[in-house]
Symmetry: C2
Subunit: 271 residues, 2 copies
Amino acid sequence: MRKSNDATDMTQPTNNAKEPETHFARIADALRQRIKSGGLRAGAALPSERAVAETHNVSRMTARRALEALEAEGLAYSEGRRGRFVSPARVSYDVSQMVSFVADAQTKGLDLDIAVIDAETQPADPRVARALGLGDDAPVHKYTRLFRVDGHPIFLETEYVSAARYPDLLEHDLRQSTTALLDQHFGATARAGEITIRMRAMSHSEAAHLGQSANRAGLELEQIIQNADGQPFCFGRQIWRGELAEFSARAIVETRPSGTSPITSKTVRHP
Amino acid sequence: MRKSNDATDMTQPTNNAKEPETHFARIADALRQRIKSGGLRAGAALPSERAVAETHNVSRMTARRALEALEAEGLAYSEGRRGRFVSPARVSYDVSQMVSFVADAQTKGLDLDIAVIDAETQPADPRVARALGLGDDAPVHKYTRLFRVDGHPIFLETEYVSAARYPDLLEHDLRQSTTALLDQHFGATARAGEITIRMRAMSHSEAAHLGQSANRAGLELEQIIQNADGQPFCFGRQIWRGELAEFSARAIVETRPSGTSPITSKTVRHP
DNA sequence: AATTTACTTTGGTATATACCAATAAATATC
DNA sequence: GATATTTATTGGTATATACCAAAGTAAATT
């Protein structure tokens, strides 16, 4: 069952402005109802474009627009030429408590599995070198892994660590938490992390690994993991299927702004 | 100029797998180049669908797909029937240091302006009541504001606070930081916050306020702001234009998991 | 000079059609 | 019974066309 996305429309200034109510929107509404009412549950196949076109007496392109609308909402996803399916519930990831999704997923009892897509050692590019505090072209281990929950690909991660510091890392089984691995075998304990989250489009190959069609938007999560001395020792970049995830964090207001300087408001354009 | 989105494709296992190279993809490439090379800078209008169709000798629908691909990447955005334009650089928001975007934006010297869309007092719905620790149907102030940076609508926020605790809040000018407002006039000081970030589609009216076409995906940021006693006093929901923002956070690993129990890896499906 | 009117451009929606490649299912072959 | 082979289904791409409403521009009118 889908976790109700109770993000009710925020802007209802008492007006019940009639929605455009185009043709494809009505069809999308109908399908949306079938999903919400439980007629189509998570994992179930949606009717094909041609089927929707016929039952609603519209052209296939219009049926397609309706189905794509559901995709955009995250209610459904496409598996290429296999068909479209109802999305499962979102997975929550608390980024401020733990730096490892694996550990977080474990405590929640999720059926997680990890596949190693690629692993190699190569010179660090400028961005990676900067993040890890290494010199340019310093050797780094780079490994890409695909994470699945209940069989659904959910995100793709590429991590970088210094090859000089952790020489035989790639000899270990990478299908586990690397923070745990680095902790146990190399004494590198995660103490803090800097995380950046942004929305961006997936590349062709990323989309392919995640079972998505190209040009889909996803969430990129970039993190630099530091040890007790504040030294960064692991840099990672994840691309998540945006409709399947949500990230939570706890913020602490440390720097009590002295007096909280009066904030001047700017002019308003639509008064 | 666009901040280089140095999210280089993560999955390049030495293979230079030829991209599908469809017709619309080639056109998108050409436009992408014009943007990256500076030929089209932030704010500039992209050629219209019909213009692209003519110069590349394709149908308008194919030209449209190319332009929509750029939108999906965040390189461009559509302003309805006004045309498509090159996106400005992303705005960064540090969610772990400050609970207020206004304060964060100020320190960065951004040209921020706030427009009040709606403000009213009404009984709390269950979700809001739960977040604020109030009884159901307790009166709350609800106000919706549109935030712009350099004239670009960037996010829409609806906040809820107890009307009983802060009776005349709506009498004040809401075109400023409400955390500052609550702090100065009511002694409610933000100390911590719980934040959730997820990707979702915008509603029609949200998209309209943000100058977007319908069914666009955006980033929802939900936050519960607490005072020094851990009591929640402000609940807010923001919907951001995903291509214009990025969120950063700092995580601290507090609970040192004793021994870091060995993590069993699951079976891999694509070995 | 300010306002109204007419025209043009633009993206959004919609139809009808066509071909392709990957997938899945049914069928024939060994 | 396991293995090829054929067939049907599906989403992805592409074309050509058409109408609409909103937005911008130019011309005519007051």
